[in-house]
Symmetry: C2
């Protein structure tokens, strides 16, 4: 069972140090502290365990150290920044694990860019040694890249020439779309195992600058001094502590404070319930700060995040998640109102940005989601996004019972999808005026009003309800899980594309394809034979 | 050896009839006339042979029947429009063939949309019976879809529920991006084997209308009468004949009039040479019309198209194509000038649109391309696009020899990539001002000027030239062909995305992945077991 929770006291591979408004995140991978058996994490190469720590560190910077304005990402090992994902780990992992590993590392890289874009923290990759493969992909997720000029250190993407796979953690996309490296140069760089150094790396746009060893630290310090001035002053910021999330579990359930999941393993689906606030919550910033990580929108969505990761990695046979909510619609709306009114405050902003990231994690989860709306539920505002993220929305139509859903200001832009649209905009691509209508509807929608507004997929009446849900679940879980993954990846992201959707949609799909091909993973494939005395033997048919 | 050339006299599966300004393209697949052994094309299902005829018919409409303003796409079989790609053909084809087959059918669907968008011909799918899978995907490539309401006929995408693969010929993308069907409805539709009929199909946006059998023809006629008025009047248009392309071939070469390819099979690369006009060409429309399909830009690019398809399907082990040109730079520029000056005339417009489609076919070909620029070459304007389409551009730097490349007005927008940008814009995403500079440069660029302008990848001098080209070829063809395909699909299309790039980049990559998965093509996979007494057995792990 892989656990996604950690904290700096428990880090094995990273050191997070804070010096006033500058943080340093130093990689120092312990080669024997692996998540699985059979490989050693040499040369600051990483496995999922290393990346779980990195993701945690970025999350903690945002909540625990809001005063930090620049983050230096570097290595404590001499002459090597990071050698990327460990090849032997990849070579011995199942296809499903490789795919989930890459998805999580992609989300971590995107979280760095999210922090930079929305919270103004500047990430500076101080490459005191070679950054190859995923190591360079980590650097390219930062805002600035500086490489030591020691005659040896290079940046490289050796996946294609050495391993027969792609630099699949955003590398190819960020080369041409973020750094806008000319395509022919990107082609040369991506096929050159040894990579590029110094002047040519800078001329081609792969790094921002390089400095001799003796002047490296000084140059980084100078860049940091500039970077910290890029963000406007905010009020004195005192962070809040992110405590570990407690849950009780049995073999087929997990119960956090606001989130529960029940696994119906034999039927391959899970019921996932998010509970709304249990009482009226404070509306002032002081009180919210006092609540810290106990504040409902922060805690509930952190729990949701943890359970989504758990389901992805530890419960691969669960193909469908039925999303339910429990609680008081109006209490959720009141929280949304507070968040919307205070969104300029750093803690509220971070809380909203975290909610947005968790919802994007849901969009990107390779499981089907059905929202199930019954009496006692509270699909309002931020929780309505759970329904809007779902592949289908079922709402009971029973005039004898009170059931409602509602929008809030948060549905209007605070929680964007990876494609940059709101979920309402994605839903109503054909009828953009419906977005306006639905947002302007100030009361809750009963089932008929919700259906008329286009918010539901199906609204069975109480006689049909149980049968219809049961049949929908049975039918969904009987289908090919691979076809569903490809179908959902296509249908969930209509409309515009962004660098993120390119990474998750296009680059990932090609990498997943290559991860299935005999030329990579067959007995004679490049990934299988890396580091062995045997050599890869390719089937050279071009496909 | 698969031959991509055909003509209406040789069609087995389609009838193209012209009645004034309306064409009817009727599908009547002959079930025994298959391209390969082992399957029968029942129920208007298709294989590559059927689609080669469709592609030819669309091409001929554009050049031979410019007066046509509306195209009715229908079936001559009772109760069935088209059952899509033949499942047994897919089940027995190699992975590489499936991928190439889908790519070609995708290009044909995109060619329909290109004709509609740029030449104003309106495509009307008159579904006189059920359209399932690829049959509905053909319909959705048309501008309007009408379905007979006979109590039985439906539209459907049964790939996910029945076959464990995707409707991968653009279907999923066009559902949500072109017809903007709501994502949850698209989800239901794409998992419902029997599809939808009549009112619900219309309400959900899957069709534009349905009519009872007795009124179907009348309703289609009425729609056609409206559709022909959508295009502004043009001068009386008299088409030109597209004659079949003659070539001489040996085991390792093909020579057309303006295009030659030489296969270096043992080294897995080809030399492809495009020759410029052999004399000064006329600049008046009358004379151009008189030349017909002999006019250099039409003939040379049709030949290039044919050879690209040949290389894709018949020469899978050729991984790299070295693109060369031969001829007089100024003659190519003169042709470009004529084309640019007359682009409003239908024949010139169609000639340019064809060139653009051929160049997009090149962009989408899963082989590496290196442009090799030597003395005697004529990479100017439209032929410069060959270099700009290439993964790398090598130009000899020898001050003793005259070598030049040049831009023309055609590099400024007439030949867009699938992403909507020109190849110069894609190249200079980081420095858009360079596009302007390069286009403003009225003389030809010698090697040093071309390099300074950012147009070259490498410019070896005459001492290094041969070795450097040889080493580059050897290195490229030694790499994993699958990794190269994924890398090139990522690096070639930076910048914005369109429906076309989504189809070729995202949807295709997911489909290719699924086409590799045991759940589809393994001994217990859904595609393998379709129509057999055995049932598919899935590994339900979600990936």
């Amino acid at each position: 069972m892989i656990n996604f929770q950690t904290s700096p006291e428990h880090y094995k591979h990273w050191k997070l140090s804070i010096d006033g408004i500058v943080a340093t995140l130093s990689m120092d991978v312990q080669e024997d502290q692996t998540l699985a058996q059979g490989y050693k994490l040499k040369l600051n190469s990483y496995d999922l365990g290393v990346d779980i720590e990195l993701a945690d560190a970025i999350q903690r910077l945002r909540f625990e150290h809001p005063e930090v304005r620049a983050v230096v990402v570097t290595s404590l090992k001499p002459r090597i920044f990071c050698a990327g994902a460990n090849i032997y780990m990849l070579g011995t992992s199942s296809h499903a694990f490789k795919v989930n590993f890459c998805k999580f590392t992609n989300e971590t890289r995107c979280a760095i860019e999210d922090d930079s874009r929305h919270s103004g923290r500047r990430y500076i990759a101080a490459l005191n040694g070679t950054a190859s493969g995923g190591g360079y992909e980590l650097a390219i997720a930062c805002d600035e890249i500086y490489l030591v000029d020691d005659g040896n250190s290079a940046v490289s993407l050796p996946e294609v020439p050495l391993l027969g796979v792609l630099p699949g953690t955003g590398g190819l996309t960020r080369l041409v779309d973020k750094r806008k490296v000319r395509r022919d140069r990107a082609d040369v760089f991506s096929t050159l195992a040894e990579g590029l150094k110094g002047k040519r790396a800078k001329d081609w746009g792969l790094i921002d600058d390089s400095f001799p060893t003796s002047k490296f630290q000084e140059a980084i310090d100078a860049r940091v001094a500039q970077a910290v001035n890029l963000r406007p002053d905010e009020n004195t910021q005192i962070g809040i502590r992110l405590n570990s999330l407690k849950f009780e579990s049995t073999d087929d359930s997990r119960d956090y404070k606001y989130v529960s999941v029940k696994l119906n393993r034999d039927k391959r689906f899970a019921d996932l319930t998010v509970r709304g606030p249990e009482s009226d919550l404070p509306a002032t910033l002081d009180k919210i700060h006092e609540l810290g990580d106990g504040y409902w929108p922060l805690r509930a969505f952190r729990e949701l995040d943890d359970v989504l990761l758990h389901l992805r990695v530890n419960e691969p046979e669960i193909g469908l998640v039925c999303l339910r909510t429990e609680g008081d619609l109006n209490r959720v709306l009141a929280v949304d109102q507070t968040l919307a009114a205070n969104r300029e405050h750093w803690l509220v902003r971070e809380t909203l940005l975290n909610m947005a990231r968790v919802l994007r994690r849901l969009d990107l989860t390779a499981k089907s989601f059905f929202a199930i709306i019954e009496p006692g539920s509270c699909f309002a505002g931020s929780l309505l996004e759970l329904a809007l993220s779902s592949d289908r929305i079922y709402m009971l139509n029973d005039p004898d019972q009170k059931i409602g859903i509602a929008t809030s200001e948060l549905n209007a832009g605070a929680l964007p999808m990876s494609n940059g649209l709101t979920r309402l905009q994605s839903r109503f691509l054909a009828e953009p005026e419906k977005v306006v209508e639905v947002l302007a509807h100030k009361e809750s929608f009963d089932t008929e009003a919700a259906e008329a507004a286009g918010l539901l997929t199906f609204a069975p009446d109480d006689l049909d309800w149980e049968d219809e849900i049961r049949l929908a679940i049975e039918e969904r879980t009987s289908l090919s899980p691979d076809a569903l993954t490809g179908m959902e990846a296509s249908l969930r992201f209509a409309g515009p594309e962004t660098m993120d959707t390119k990474i998750y949609g296009r680059l990932t799909a090609w990498q997943n394809w290559i991860f299935q091909r005999p030329n990579a993973v067959g007995p004679q494939g490049a990934l299988t034979n890396y580091g062995k005395p045997t050599q890869a033997q390719f089937d050279y048919k071009r496909t």
